[in-house]
C-alpha cells in the first residue's frame, strides 16, 4: 500500500518542465508519518481513495486495467478525467488525494525555493506538559 500510495500521489502531482512534482521525491517517509500520526478516518479515506483511483480506469478510459499498469500518458488522462467525473464521489477521491498530496507537495523545499518562499522549519509538535 505504501508504494501504491506514493506512486498515486506522484501521478496526481507529477513534475512538469517548470515545477517539481511528488514523483521527484521519495514520499514514503511522509506517508509513513501520516500513517503513524493521522486518525483512522483520514488513513482509511486515503487508502480507499488510492485503491479507487487505481481501480477506475475502466470508468474513465474504458480500459479494464488498474491505473498502475497504464502508460504515463494514460494515467495522466485518467487522473484528469476522474477529477472531472460526473459522479461526485469519484471527484471526491481526487480531492482527497490532492488534499493529502498537497500537504507533501507544498512543503517541498525545492518547490518553495522556486516560488521564492522560505523552506519550512521543522514543526516541533511541542505542547505545555505542565
Amino acid at each position: 500500500m505504501l508504494h501504491l500510495t506514493a506512486w498515486t500521489l506522484g501521478r496526481v502531482f507529477p513534475s512538469t518542465a517548470a515545477l517539481p512534482g511528488l514523483d521527484a521525491i521519495d514520499t514514503k517517509p511522509f506517508i509513513r508519518q501520516l500513517a503513524r500520526e493521522a486518525p483512522f478516518t483520514i488513513r482509511a479515506t486515503l487508502w480507499a481513495s488510492v485503491l479507487l483511483f487505481n481501480l477506475t480506469p475502466l470508468l474513465t478510459l474504458g480500459i479494464p486495467l488498474p491505473a498502475f499498469l497504464l502508460s504515463p500518458a494514460r494515467v495522466d488522462a485518467h487522473a484528469q478525467k476522474l477529477s472531472g467525473s460526473n459522479i461526485y464521489l469519484l471527484r471526491q477521491i481526487v480531492l482527497m488525494l490532492k488534499t493529502i498530496g498537497g500537504l507533501a507537495w507544498g512543503a517541498m523545499p525545492e518547490l518553495r525555493a522556486k516560488f521564492e518562499m522560505p523552506a519550512y522549519p521543522e514543526d516541533s509538535g511541542r505542547w505545555r506538559q505542565s
Binding site: 502531482f13 513534475s15 512534482g21 501520516l34 486518525p39 505542547w127
Partner: protein, 510 residues
Amino acid sequence: MSGRHVAFQEGAAQAFDADYVVAGSGAGGAAAAITLARAGFRVALVEAGPWRDPEDYPSSMYGTMRDMFADWGQLVAMGNPLGKDAIIPIVQAKLVGGTPIINSAIVVRTPGDVLADWRERFGLGDVFNEASIGAKQDQIERELSVTETAGAGMGPSGAAMLKALIDRGAEGHAIHRNVRAACEGAMQCLQGCKRRNKRTANFLWIPELQNERGGIVLSCAPVDRVLLENGQAVGVTGRWQHPQTRQKGATFTVRAKRGVLVAASATGSAPLLQRSGIRLPALGQGWRAHPGAGVVGVYPETMDMHKGASQAVASLQYRESIGIKMEHLSLPMELFAARVGGAGQTLMHKLEDYRHCAMWVNAVRADAVGTVKQNWLGGVSVTYQPTKKDLERLRTGSKMIAEMHFSQGAYKVLPGVFGMKSEIGPDEVHLFDTAPLDNRCYTWVLSHLFGGCNLGKDPQTSVVAPDLHVRGVRKLHVVDAAAIPTTLGVNPQHTIMAMAMVAAERLVGA
C-alpha cells in the same frame, strides 16, 4: 495567587474543586473564564486540546492539521452523499485558546440589525443589547490590541481587492484585527502567529487566569459529561487524551460549587449536553453557518499570496442586499493545490501560476439550517446543506468577484465551480448566471458556525433561556457560538467573546 496547569495524565483518577468550571477555552470559554476569574472566583478551565505556546506552533500545513485543527479537520457536514448533497469540511481548532489561534483575527462588532432581530424575535434585549455588548467589545478591542490592517499586512492580493471595490464604487475596508501593528504579513494566521502579533487567549487571558487569579487549567482534557445532581449542574468529568497518540489517560472530575459553563463550540456543546443526558426538543437543532467559497484571479504580475495577512480586506456592501460578505483570503500553497481543479499535468500547469493568483471569497449569510448531534460511534454528526437561495447568493457574489478580478487586470479567472469552464476570460463572466445550483459543484468550507444550543424565549425552539441557563437544569450555561440563534453576516468571534463576557458578568452579579 498562582493556580495550576495539568496536562495529559495517566494513572489514578484526579479530582479538582472550583467555583466555576468552564468546558472549552476558545473564543467564548476563555472570555467567560477570565471575566469570572477577575471577579474573584476560582475558575477551572477544561480544554480538550493541548496548550501550545506561539514558539511551538507549526509552520507547515501538515503540522497545522496535526497540531492545531480539531482531529485533523476530519469533521464534515453532510446531508445524503449518495443523494444530491455535498460533503463540506468544517474547520476548527482544538487547543487551549481555541479556534481564534488559527483564525484570521478579523474583528467586527455585532451589527445593530442582529441585536434588533434578537430583541424582537427572541426576547434577548434585556441581556444582549448595544450597551452591554458594546461595552465588552470596547474592552476586548483594548485588551487584544485591535488595529486596522496596514503596511506589510495588506499584501498585494488584499491591496488589489481594496482597489477593485473602490473602482466598483462599493464599500471596502482594511480589516480590523486583534493583531499588533507590528504584523509582518507573513501569511501565517492559519498556522498560528509565532510572532505573537495575533493576540490570543493562550498567552494573555489564560496565563493570567492561572498565574494571577488562582485558576486551574486542564489541557488535553475533553469533557465527557456534565455532572448533574438533583436537576443541578455540579461539575464535569472526562478522561485526559494524549494529543499525539490519542491514547486515553486518567479520569478527571472537576466539581464546581457555583456552576458549569459549556463552551465547546457549535459542534461540541450540543453533543456534550446530549452525552450528559439532557433531553430538550431543540438540543442539536438550529445549526447554522456562513458557508464560504472563493474565486481565483490569475494576473500577469505576481500577487504573492504568501505576502500579507491571510485576510486583510473585506466588504460589507452586499451583506444586506444579497447576504454575502466579501473577503480577501490568501491560501498556503498546500491548500491552494486542493482548491484548484484538475489532476496530473493539468493541475500542475495551473499551479505553476501560484505566484500570480489572488483569491477572494464570499461568506454567505445562509438560510440553511442543520443539526448537530452525538453519533452512535462516539463522534459528532453535522447535517447541513446550503439551500438553493444560498447557492444563488454565492453565484451572484462569485460573478461580482470575477468582475472585480478582471477590473484589476486578471487575464483569467478560475471559478472553482464544477459544471462551468475551469478557466474563464473577461467575456465569459456571464457563465456564472447559469452555473449549477448544486452544492456538489462548489468547494464550500464552513468556519463560522452557530447554534445547536440556541438562545431564545420559546422552550420548544431554544435550549438556553434569555438569562443564559440551560432549560430545566440549574447552574448550567452555554457561552459560545452554540448559543447564537441566527447567523450574523459578519465574522463571529467578537460577538461570541462579548456575549460570553456579558453572560459571565451576569453570574458575577447574581
